[in-house]
Assembly symmetry: C2
Homo-oligomer: 386 residues x 2
């Protein structure tokens, strides 16, 4: 809880809701007759609407990227370190839009919403959504907010996939794309981990094939397990080692299945905490969106061909100890962009934090983001023309 709002914070923010009544045809073949997206904005849209930045969230993210909802909030939004007045995504210059994606569980239409056709909770019947579906819904939100072209679209991990998709599908609608700790498609191992996470959830008897809300329960065991596993893949071996090592709970081993090592306690806590804030069906959907994403698939598996339409400037960022989406995966995108003749900068950042590093204000990373965005900021452009 902040006693006072820090000067470099966007301050108190209020989520807003946009209702859409134009049907949205999804990649899976189903159509959503209507839906809503919850979003926040930080900073002011300038007169010619040229300073908008879109933030795309990752697997378990939401629209609350910066600032505080109330003075009682224990923590600010999930990317508060990067978004604010004077911060790399500088709200003195940019109008930042951050939304909860379709299928989410934080206010946008998703499995926990009411299906208007039945008057019941969607649950497992909510249609599968893809990265491309999200881009489509985000484009409609941009229309609604009067943004024809974004100064930049930015995202880490699954968020980076949305940015990549934007650059291909709507090349005219963004001047810059920042793709952080991401990949052009999941590896076999990535899919395998996702499948284990999904099986953890599906095998929980409280999952009821996704209709757990009808049974007034939650698959806490399975969702907790999925999160424990996910959590390991977000951290590096080194960062877990630095944090916990082989630190024991007791002076001596107890030779039981309760906590012997502190890391066990940490993981259980992380798993349990997640079940209190996240919906299992949404988690399932998000992992599938990751699995499906593969923009090169329709272009002879040649990412450079898929990227041919792109017109924006690209910044790619990777982190040395990230083994979920290793630097090599970012470099696949860099190489394809180079091959396709696009403008691309690439920063491989020394970081101990693993995949999670994209959420940390690591100086060289923040500098790279700041420098890249300054180049596309309308203010800077005016100055450079002066």
């Amino acid at each position: 809880m902040p006693d006072t709002i820090p000067v470099d914070s966007v301050g108190l923010v209020t989520p807003q809701v946009a209702e859409f009544n134009e049907p949205l045809a999804l990649a899976c073949g189903q159509t959503l007759a209507n839906y809503q997206l919850v979003y926040e904005t930080y900073g002011q849209l300038n007169r010619d609407a040229s300073n908008a930045v879109l933030i795309c969230h990752a697997l378990s993210g939401d629209h609350h990227a910066a600032g505080y909802h109330t003075m009682a909030d224990r923590k600010p939004g999930w990317w508060d370190s990067a978004i604010g007045p004077g911060k790399p995504i500088d709200t003195n210059h940019f109008f930042v839009i951050s939304l909860n994606n379709l299928g989410g569980c934080c206010g946008s239409t998703g499995p926990t919403s009411i299906n208007p056709a039945t008057g019941k909770v969607w649950g497992a019947k909510f249609p599968m959504v893809t990265v491309e579906d999200w881009v489509e819904s985000q484009a409609r939100l941009a229309d609604r907010l009067g943004v024809q072209q974004f100064a930049a679209i930015i995202g880490g991990s699954l968020g980076g996939m949305q940015v990549l998709s934007w650059s291909i599908r709507y090349p005219q609608r963004l001047r810059a794309a920042a793709i952080i700790a991401s990949a052009p498609k999941l590896s076999t191992q990535n899919i395998a981990f996702n499948e284990v996470a999904r099986q953890s959830i599906r095998r929980d008897p409280d999952f009821f094939d996704g209709d757990y809300m009808d049974h007034d329960t939650i698959p806490t065991n399975g969702l907790g397990l999925a999160r424990m596993l996910g959590h390991i893949t977000y951290l590096s071996d080194d960062s877990m080692g630095n944090k916990f090592g082989r630190q024991m709970r007791h002076d001596q081993f107890q030779y039981h299945y309760d906590i012997e090592f502190e890391v066990e306690s940490y993981l259980r806590y992380q798993g349990e905490a997640f079940t209190k804030r996240f919906d299992a069906n949404t988690y399932m959907l998000m992992t599938k969106a990751l699995d499906y994403f593969d923009p090169a698939a329709d272009h002879d598996h040649d990412l450079a061909k898929a990227l041919a339409p792109a017109q924006c400037d690209f910044l790619l960022v990777s982190f040395t100890t990230d083994w979920r989406f290793s630097p090599q995966r970012s470099e696949e995108i860099v190489n394809a962009l180079v091959k396709a003749g696009k403008r691309v900068s690439y920063a491989k950042i020394e970081a101990v934090e693993g995949h999670d590093a994209f959420l940390f204000p690591i100086p060289r990373y923040m500098d790279a983001l700041r420098g890249f965005l300054q180049r596309v900021s309308p203010v800077t452009q005016e100055n450079s023309h002066a």
Copy 2:
């Protein structure tokens, strides 16, 4: 099923059972009043009992390391590629002993055995066993078989930990130690993966706190999950990629939670098959034995100090794509041995198979093992004295 037994096979083998009635005091504080060990032997013990080799198995291994039990067997023992006449662990020269460890589920006393004190299945009440307990029980088996000193003790992964422990606890009882794809202790990440595996099992309602046999059931969902997860960590990202890539089950995505990618099918199959051959309580015990192992802990966390008593020759082997026990982990042992002034050879083997590589007959690996064992073979020693 072999139509004929290959000439370099140890042929048909029959497991034997050794009963022990001297109580065994375990590290956990409990004592086993009596127990049995099931084992196989290949080759002949020579007159002065100087050619015995002990094989220590890994997490889900057993005593059936080589040859066939019947002509109807679909596959030979788990390390048949390395053990046999003319093979690296050459049964023309060596008398090879391979046992199922205490706490196992393949014939040695473990959770599926009857507790003589109660007349009921041990189940979850079977005491926790450690690597050191195994070494103790293996030493007793050696006594029983008339082996005072092993020519070599060999093991991969958790088996390598047993070898390391032998070299410290019974320095006089082995001339050579081959430690393959192993580590001097688990990393935080290793423990974390084990904890997720255990939680998978414990959260299965069919686990009944380990007393599932009393309820005439098996925690197939949880044990299967644990194995799926384990399996990912045994393979390298590359080997999974080479094997399955993003190979789809259907021509087009079905946008459902059934199999979309072949790797999902493979993992589910691996998980399910495992539940038919392995006991969940044993799996829990084995992961705990891994967690607890840390011979340096009682020596100011200085492995070189812990290794001071060792007298044998060491061979360490690691595999380039093994990320469960990476080459760096083997090198920690190598460095400690060097620091302690011991004789050590080290082979880091190029291999795509990840941790599983230790089960494959990779030529350079097999050559390293063969060369090392030839140096300690009594036959070779006699020749070299001639």
